[in-house]
């Protein structure tokens, strides 16, 4: 087990690193006009490694930080990240004994779900995000999340520690 006093510091470090990489590097790497979402990947990894509580908490905190550096409606990202983090935590708990590739599949679906949720809630609060953009955004965010989920889970294990290695991690060793 990690000494508990270091956990908030390490957690902050991981979230901030993801945020800085997102706005400085990932934001410039567009595919079909859309970009991947590294901050969402950290939220999904937190949910997969720690359950719905941790997923929702990371989602809220990371979303709040992300909203400080973008021009989108303030509060919308913490809301969508927290909901996705919670949902992924529940799904992760339910699917724990399935294939070793489940984190990859769940992360991809979480990316798609987040894109749809954000577009829908954005329109609900009065910002007319075009639904035509949704397929490209969902595809790119989903694919990006699937690619980055394993290193993100390792980062989360570095923060919180873990007793048993994941089957996918064993395979990659």
């Amino acid at each position: 087990m990690r000494p508990r006093r270091w956990i908030p510091l390490r957690a902050a470090l991981v979230v901030l690193a993801a945020l800085v990489l997102q706005v400085s590097v990932a934001a410039d790497l567009r595919v079909a006009g859309a970009i991947g979402d590294l901050v969402l990947v950290v939220v999904v990894a937190a949910a997969l490694t720690g359950g719905p509580d941790r997923g929702a908490t990371y989602g809220f905190a990371a979303g709040l930080l992300y909203d400080l550096v973008v021009d989108t409606p303030f509060g919308l990202t913490p809301l969508t990240y927290a909901l996705v983090g919670y949902g992924v935590g529940l799904a992760g708990a339910a699917l724990q004994r399935t294939s070793g590739w489940w984190p990859v599949a769940v992360a991809a679906l979480a990316g798609v779900a987040h894109a749809a949720l954000y577009t829908g809630l954005g329109n609900l609060v009065g910002v007319a995000y075009p639904f035509d953009d949704l397929p490209a955004i969902a595809l790119v965010v989903g694919a990006g999340a699937a690619l980055a989920i394993v290193p993100a889970m390792r980062a989360l294990w570095w923060v919180h520690g873990h007793d048993e290695p994941d089957r996918l991690e064993v395979m990659f060793r």
Binding site: S24, D28, R30, T57, V69, D163
Partner: protein, 275 residues
């Protein structure tokens, strides 16, 4: 792997959702605290972004070479043709000269008249899939202030929505929340243009009678009517399609912006503020 059971999570997620919804409501009211927090975050992020941008530029350039291959190829063909013409005229053009040409194109603002301007480099494009703003390398120290319009060689780019000492954020005309009062260059009919997302044309709601003829290609400029957020006469785009608005009582115009907001290297901020 230890997974926390979901028992008790519902209360926490309910609290977090409630807190988020409260933040959304506060954020929609554009309160000063949120503005200040965002400005503070921009001050912190700018130097880190600049440093990381420099370090990672070879990788990003390689990425653009792969993902924008077709565009790069077309651009390459065009540049080859230009180079051939240039060589024929006995004039070489270096990268620095090309950058200078871009810069002077951004400065070519006949509509700006006597307005003082600040030319800025675009340091970052939209930072998320739902953001429609760019970051520029000039701020309040250079005379840039919130509310000032931004333009490039061809016309209106957007409006400054946030400014710190050394950086500023420009909301692009493609933002679904962007609104600008416009008038037709021919006939002078007024309307309101609104953004419809990245790569999409603008939609202009007018009060023009549906029986009126509006020709495709008609120019659209900022109206600058009383209390407008923009000075008059900045080119916005050209009419690409004319259709009946909702209710059939007036025309709605589809306008192609003159400036490709995603492809900018430099913008010019017009030092003009609404009265």
């Amino acid at each position: 792997m230890a997974i926390s059971p979901p028992t008790g999570s519902r209360t926490r997620v309910a609290v977090l959702v409630l807190a988020s919804v409260t933040l959304v409501v506060i954020g929609l009211r554009d309160v000063a605290v949120v503005r200040d927090l965002r400005e503070g975050a921009a001050e912190v992020v700018a130097p880190v972004e600049r440093a990381l941008g420099t370090v990672t530029s070879p990788f990003r350039n390689a990425w653009h070479g792969i993902t924008d291959y077709e565009d790069v190829k077309r651009e390459n063909d065009r540049l080859r043709a230009e180079l051939a013409e240039t060589e024929a005229a006995g004039i070489g053009r270096s990268d620095a000269e090309q950058q200078f040409a871009d810069l002077t194109a951004a400065l070519d603002l006949p509509f700006a008249g006597d307005l003082p301007t600040v030319t800025a480099r675009v340091v970052s494009g939209p930072r998320s899939n739902f953001s429609h703003a760019i970051e520029i390398d000039k701020g309040t120290d250079d005379g840039v202030a919130v509310g000032m319009p931004a333009a490039a060689g061809g016309g209106l780019v957007g409006r400054v929505t946030q400014a710190t000492a050394g950086t500023a954020r420009v909301e692009l005309i493609t933002d679904p929340e962007f609104r600008v009062g416009v008038r037709l260059a021919e006939g002078g009919a007024l309307g309101t243009a609104r953004g419809q997302g990245r790569g999409e044309p603008l939609a202009v709601d007018t009060s023009i009678n549906p029986r009126t003829e509006v020709a495709d290609g008609t120019g659209v400029v900022t109206s600058g009517v009383d209390r407008s957020a923009y000075p008059p006469g900045i080119p916005v785009g050209t009419v690409a399609e004319v259709r009946e608005g909702s209710g059939g009582l007036a025309l709605e115009l589809v306008v192609t912006p003159l400036v490709e907001a995603d492809q900018l290297s430099y913008v010019t901020v017009l030092q003009w503020q609404p009265e």
